[in-house]
């Protein structure tokens, strides 16, 4: 583990203690909490003219995967997936998955762009959750597995990993970054290909492959679009298990 990251290991207990003193929201009680935010409203009638049967599968699979990794995982959609609720939960999230419309959105307050995604909110008018919003709430606390299942989440200029205190560095071999891994899509991608990628990724983890190996196997799916692409940052050999480091059996 890098010395630069040591403080992130004690950050979560300190944060948890502060929360307990201040009054504990119900969401803080689960060990190694993971939130799964899924926008279903935007991609079904009346917001979209065609029924999207892929998104519910993604939600079910992601929640099950985080549970298998040892998280107390809860899925949120509709009025439970709003900007306000996501930002209220994020300080307590060790794991996070979101599936929604994503982009490199213009932020008029800061007069610059940030990577972000749209809330669900249960209606067709959906606010953007900017990476800077998440970063302000998490203030550098350790993340485990963060899967941003949106377009542009892993473009070269993405600002989303930093919101979860994950450097855009590929840790492999002796370069071990901590128990963290960020996955997202590059450019525009179809839901059917994202579903194929995600099922292969979750299945890799479920069968004992590292996060990096699961990513590599997932990249070899039968994708409909020839331009399918995703990217990652974090520790390749980490097994995805919730919480701080215990052991990394495949690290050098």
């Amino acid at each position: 583990m890098s010395r630069a990251h040591w403080w992130r290991l004690i950050g979560p207990p300190l944060l948890a203690a502060a929360v307990l003193v201040a009054g504990t929201p119900a969401v803080a009680l689960g060990a190694y909490q993971a939130s799964i935010d899924v926008n279903t409203t935007a991609f079904n009638p009346p917001c979209d003219g065609d029924v999207n049967n892929i998104v519910p599968k993604m939600m079910t699979a992601a929640r099950a995967a985080y549970v298998r990794l040892g998280h107390a995982a809860t899925a949120y959609t509709g009025v439970d997936f709003t900007r306000a609720r996501t930002l209220a939960r994020t300080p307590f999230d060790w794991g996070y998955y979101v599936h929604s419309h994503g982009d490199y959105y213009w932020n008029s307050t800061d007069a610059r762009r940030y990577t972000g995604f749209r809330e669900d909110s249960g209606d067709c008018s959906q606010a953007v959750v900017f990476s800077k919003d998440i970063k302000a709430k998490r203030v550098g606390r350790q993340s485990n597995l963060v899967f941003v299942s949106t377009c542009h989440a892993a473009d070269a200029n993405t600002t989303m990993p930093d919101a979860f205190a994950i450097a855009k560095t590929k840790g492999f071999g002796a370069n071990v970054l901590g128990p963290e891994f960020y996955v997202g899509y590059v450019g525009l991608q179809w839901d059917s290909d994202e579903w194929t990628f995600e099922q292969r990724f979750w299945n890799g983890l479920a069968t004992g492959k590292s996060v990096g190996a699961s990513f590599d196997v997932a990249m070899l799916g039968a994708f409909n679009a020839p331009g399918f692409d995703a990217d990652w940052w974090g520790t390749y050999q980490w097994m995805g298990v919730a919480g701080p480091w215990t052991t990394c059996r495949n690290c050098i």
């Binding site: 991609f43 979209d48 999207n52 929604s100 194929t196």
Partner: protein, 298 residues
């Protein structure tokens, strides 16, 4: 494309055992389909003789690709998402760490191979034509003979390049099928996948393109209500694809095992609708126009 694949056969005895296991797996798969949230692969017993043969074959494949380790482990898996049963051979280094994986079809041919880990670019990066040449060499090393014009693209996830030889039937693309090879930026091998799924019979009569367009527009309009005007038809094309819904509209958790000839009607979003989604595809059976599912870019 893959019609002339050089298939290296296991022994006749091994094939007979493999065929029996495959029949059993196929039958149970139909009765027990993949359900979202569960594992898509499950263990299938593999006789010692078959395991030894698979490990030897896997070692040979990974050695030819330049990524073999010191020893191998093997597990036969029934993959209910991909509708395949294969031997997954994992190559380990001298300290027992996985360094490569290959998935062998039950006739010993390579379905997938991957070099695990991240490869920092030490030497010079290759360009597109260089990537095609390297991918061709990797394919041949794995016993495959790609034909046709390759599609070559830069890829972040691959670490450099993806070179594909997509499958066509006549002029019609078979979505997701073909040979795809991932290379690191300097041209070294990263991954390979070969997919050739069964196709349904071609319908006796193919619906007219204009009729299909009307059908798709009507379907979208009935469901989108006032927002239907924000979706305009961009293209109408024939393709072979794996349905993701049944004719009654219920969902399939895994893409269907058999590909069907479909009219793919693509709608582009405009106006306020484009804030939430970009493109929608409606998939209609090319013969009778029933829904085969669809897709969306959000």
């Amino acid at each position: 494309m893959i019609s002339t694949i050089l298939r290296r056969r296991l022994t006749l005895g091994g094939l007979a055992v493999a065929a029996l296991v495959a029949i059993g797996a196929s039958t149970s798969q139909a009765a027990d389909p993949f359900v979202a949230g569960g594992r898509s692969t499950r263990h299938v017993d593999l006789p010692t003789r078959g395991a030894d043969a698979a490990k030897a074959r896997g070692h040979a494949v990974l050695t030819a690709l330049g990524v073999a380790g010191a020893r191998e482990t093997v597990e036969r898996l029934n993959d209910r998402f991909d509708h395949r049963t294969y031997d997954e051979v994992t190559s380990l280094d001298s300290r027992g760490r996985p360094v490569a994986i290959t998935r062998l079809d039950l006739d010993g041919s390579v379905g997938m191979a991957v070099a695990l880990g991240w490869h920092r670019v030490g030497g010079a990066a290759v360009d597109g034509p260089g990537a095609v040449a390297r991918a061709n060499a990797s394919a041949r090393a794995a016993g495959l003979s790609p034909h046709g014009r390759p599609d070559v693209r830069a890829s972040a996830g691959a670490g450099g390049w993806v070179v594909s030889w997509p499958r066509f039937v006549g002029d019609v693309p078979v979505r997701g099928d073909g040979l795809r090879i991932l290379l690191f930026a300097d041209g070294t091998f990263h991954g390979l996948t070969r997919t050739e799924r069964p196709l349904a019979a071609v319908p006796a009569r193919i619906l007219d393109r204009d009729a299909v367009r009307v059908l798709a527009e009507r379907a979208v309009a009935s469901r989108a209500g006032s927002r239907a005007g924000d979706l305009g038809v961009a293209t109408v094309e024939l393709a072979w694809l794996a349905p993701n819904a049944r004719p009654d509209g219920t969902t399939l958790d895994a893409p269907d095992e058999t590909l069907r000839l479909a009219w793919v009607v693509r709608f582009e979003a405009t106006g306020s609708l484009a804030d939430a989604l970009r493109t929608v595809e409606v998939w209609l059976d090319a013969g009778d126009g029933h829904s085969l599912g669809g897709d969306v870019i959000e």
